[in-house]
Amino acid sequence: MPIPSPFHPRTSVLCTSYLWKEWAGYHAVRSYETSHEREYLAFRHGAGLLDVSPLCKYEVKGPDAGRFLAYVTVKDVTKLGLGRVTYLCWCDPRGHVLDDGTITRWDDDHYRMTSADPSYAWLHRNARGFEVEITDVTEELAALALQGPNSRAVLAAVFGSELESLRFFRGVRAQAGRIPVEITRTGYTGDLGYEIWIPAQHALAVWDALVEAGAAYGLLPAGLDALDVTRVEAGFILGGIDYTSARKAVIPSQRSTPQEIGLGWAVGLERDPFIGQAALCREAREGARYAMVGLDIDWDELEHLYDAADLPPDLSPQAWRSSIPVYHGVVQVGYASSGAWSPTLKKNLAIATVEAAHAPIGTELAIEWTVDHARKTVKATVVPRPFFDPPRKRANVVHEAATSA
């Protein structure tokens, strides 16, 4: 049975729809209202506040912390500057992805890692020979994602205006009154946004402060249904949906390499040995068989299909996550694993795994689409991800004092 997160006393009162799901053993709100529309709009036009406490969180400390993490992941995080965050994945010895997440370097010998699935045992098993201490802080550390164009203003109102200068993928320690928190400019919506890491006993106080300050900025508590639409617009992959962890794969074809899930850029090959290095070097030479692509599903064709059935186009406002065949001509060359109608872009989007030959931008493929219970296909063009990438996501605030100095 799922357990409540540290924010449950607040979220359970607000969730008038009773729409919940299980997330890594926790109760998680799908949408507070019967429709997630307002929560989606808060992410894109105001600010959304999402409980992300169920993320797995590990403190990695000790003189070898950096070397250890560089060994178990695909990136040389010893080169990561203090107060910086990086997104990466980690592989088994055969170069197959186990999970993806972020690593933040808080001090010379102190890193924090997040993952979707529990990873303590795997980290611990590979720590032999490293002077490193690994602590699972998943339960001790509550977490909130504050995302949206107004998130910076809300953050500044609660934690001080110096937070405004926090740059993309950086982290900083801050305080709300006497409560110490850590803030990273990260998130899963592809928008301006932050994640706030809070000692669990102070979770409610921080929630209350953010909600109060957010009232003037259109802040709404948001659930996973709204997040799902934004993450598709952002073109982010989701472990367990868009790829299968090598840990859970039952047959070889279910496994993926970093390159096959679009994370080849995160891999640093030329360096000290790390888990999966040999296999990934081989793949770099020989090329990957599959690629993860963004698909823009042709709206006019789709509309015509519905029109032929005398129906208006009827797309769910929910993001979908099911395997749908993708064709080149009549030959199946892959499958889409998730997708959504983007209210912002007015486009019907999908994330798909296809044979590498069909991955170049502009390639015209076809995706299966069921209209009036009959299976049809619709043109789908390979387009770059992110689908939606507003400049504010990375933009820096330049203080007047700083420019005149």
Binding site: E33, T34, S35, E37, R38, L41, R44, H45, G46, N150, A216, Y217, G218, W299, D300, D307, P312, P313, D314, L315, S316, P317, W341, P343, T344, L345, K346, K347, F388
Partner: protein, 532 residues
């Protein structure tokens, strides 16, 4: 490199949203395009202005309903900053303290309507379904050029909505409804469905907006369909506020046009079209400068385009007469308020969620018809229909924290008041008072909260925004002025009697509102026929 040296392929007169859309499409096709806007800001009637520091007003047009999704995709407008926030509610307060609020949640709406009529509450979704089916049926008309009837027989009325071929296939029941929509008044049509005046009144107003007709005037029912058109543009409702005001839409389109290489000049007033041997050769600016181009496109209304820019010397009598007969007849005004607090509606104390959409001061059908009575005899309505929105609730960037802007679309304010239109400036504040007094009946404390008030009469809309007779749609959206009759029979395809002079404004098919279709369809026609 100067593009001037190579000459312009097209000059677009008027930087309204349709002119900008037209320019963007032409530039996207590789044409060298120059847009000339008389005012200091782009957007025409889709414009955001900071009238007082910190308060950003959608001065004229205030909501966006039918901006074509294919234009949004073609021009990649979200990348250029377009953000549309759907309206969440349709709120109708009543003077007796009751109120009706319709929501996107159908069950919630059903409960609201049931408080007035249990019967209506269950009929309401049936009506919506039928309108949705018919809207899908007539939708192609707004995405394609007007049909070309061989005659103007009564049957052409049906041909006009491309029904000719498909009409016969329609369900008998739907056929009947469609014919009724084409001929009946909005009030009569709704009477056939509903019993509650509280529901019928706010529904009927979509039939009269921008026309000099009343809710009981025949032909107004058709426009009800437009209200449902947005619903079928794709998942999620498409009626909304533009973040940053409606000017942000124009800015996004202008940005896209510039990215494709168009040049856009503001404070560039065009005096006339340069015509030689019946052919447009460019424009003459107000300061006498001549700018030459292979084609000229006017985004102005038909009256302005032909009677001012072209001039009667270049046009034959019958065409001139047709253009002069094209009904402008502005019937609405606008009152914009800056207030120091969120308005308090006595009928829903403490519930601000119902204000997150549009608010209709339309308590009964009789009320609306009485408002029309005033206008029929040359006066503004003492108790007008007001469509109120408070966009700063959903878009706090529009006003300083805690403060708000209120936009009031007001009907009726006839251009031709009995004193004569030029006397509007003397009646302006009295008109503003009538609006504020009316709204204050629902909203106690409103007057004390007003920090600033802008009153726009049809006269002001004409003088400041170049909308002839203050008509917000560049000509009434009445049946006889739609499709192949917009703006004149034989000239509904963006061409004009002057060679190389084109039209792309709301006075062309498919008409007004922030739709963009006239601009895009005009560009298509130009690229197909005369594109150099």
């Amino acid at each position: 490199m100067s593009t001037m040296s190579r000459g312009w392929d097209a000059i677009v007169v008027g930087g309204g949203h349709n002119g900008l859309v037209c320019a963007a499409y032409l530039a996207k096709a590789g044409r060298r395009v120059l847009v000339l806007e008389r005012r200091h800001v782009l957007g025409g009637a889709a414009v955001t202005e900071e009238l007082v520091p910190g308060f950003h007003f959608s001065v004229c047009s205030y909501v966006v309903s039918l901006l074509r999704p294919w234009i949004i995709r073609d021009l990649d407008l979200p990348r250029h900053g377009l953000e549309i926030i759907p309206l969440e509610a349709a709120f109708s307060p009543l003077p007796d303290g009751r109120s009706l609020c319709r929501w996107s949640d159908p069950e919630r709406t059903r409960r609201e309507i049931a408080a007035f009529s249990k019967r209506d509450s269950e009929v309401y979704p049936e009506f919506g379904k039928k309108m949705g089916q018919l809207a899908r049926f007539v939708k192609p008309i707004i995405d394609t050029p007007a049909p070309r009837p061989t005659s103007l027989s009564p049957l052409a009325l049906l041909d006009m909505v491309k029904l000719g071929r498909r009409f016969q296939d329609l369900d008998r029941d739907l056929q009947g409804t469609l014919v009724k929509l084409m001929t009946m008044s909005a009030a009569d049509m709704l009477d056939e469905w509903f019993e509650s005046d509280v529901l019928k009144a706010p529904m009927s107003v979509s039939g009269i907006i921008g026309t000099f007709l009343g809710v009981r005037s025949p032909g107004t029912a058709y426009v009800l369909l437009h209200h449902y058109m947005g619903e079928i543009d794709g998942a999620f409702r498409s009626w909304g506020f533009a973040k940053g005001g409606t000017g942000a839409i124009s800015e996004a389109i202008a940005d896209a046009a510039r990215r494709f290489g168009a040049e856009i000049r503001t404070e560039a007033s065009v005096a006339s079209v340069l015509i030689r041997h019946g052919e447009a050769r460019g424009v003459v600016m107000a300061d006498g400068e001549e700018i030459r181009a292979k084609h000229v496109v006017s985004g102005l209304d038909p009256h302005r385009t032909f009677l001012k820019l072209v001039g009667s010397d270049h046009l034959d009598e019958s065409f001139l007469a047709t253009i002069k007969r094209f009904k402008m007849r502005g019937s609405s005004g606008k009152v914009n308020l800056a207030v120091d607090r969120l308005p308090y509606f006595a009928s829903r104390p403490g519930d601000a969620t119902c204000l997150r959409g549009d608010i209709a001061i339309a308590p009964s059908v009789d009320y609306l018809e009485r408002a029309y009575d005033d206008a029929k005899y040359g006066d503004f309505s003492r108790r007008p229909f007001i469509n109120v929105v408070i966009p700063s609730i959903v878009d706090p960037t529009l006003a300083p924290p805690g403060k708000h802007i209120i936009s009031c679309f007001v009907q009726y304010a006839p251009y031709a008041i009995k004193e004569g239109a030029e006397h509007w400036p003397e009646r302006r504040e009295a008109f503003g008072d009538a609006v504020v007094d009316t709204l204050a009946e629902y909203c106690p404390g409103l007057k004390e909260s007003i920090l600033y008030r802008q009153v726009l009469t049809p006269w002001d809309l004409e003088q400041e925004f170049g909308l002839t007779e203050g008509n917000i749609f560049h000509g009434e959206l009445s049946l006889e002025q739609l499709a192949f009759q917009r703006p004149a029979a034989g000239w509904a395809h963006y061409k004009t009697p002057i060679e190389r002079l084109w039209m792309c404004g709301s006075g062309t098919h498919p008409g007004g509102g922030i739709m963009g279709a006239p601009g895009a369809l005009a560009a298509r026609a130009m690229l197909k026929k005369g594109g150099s």
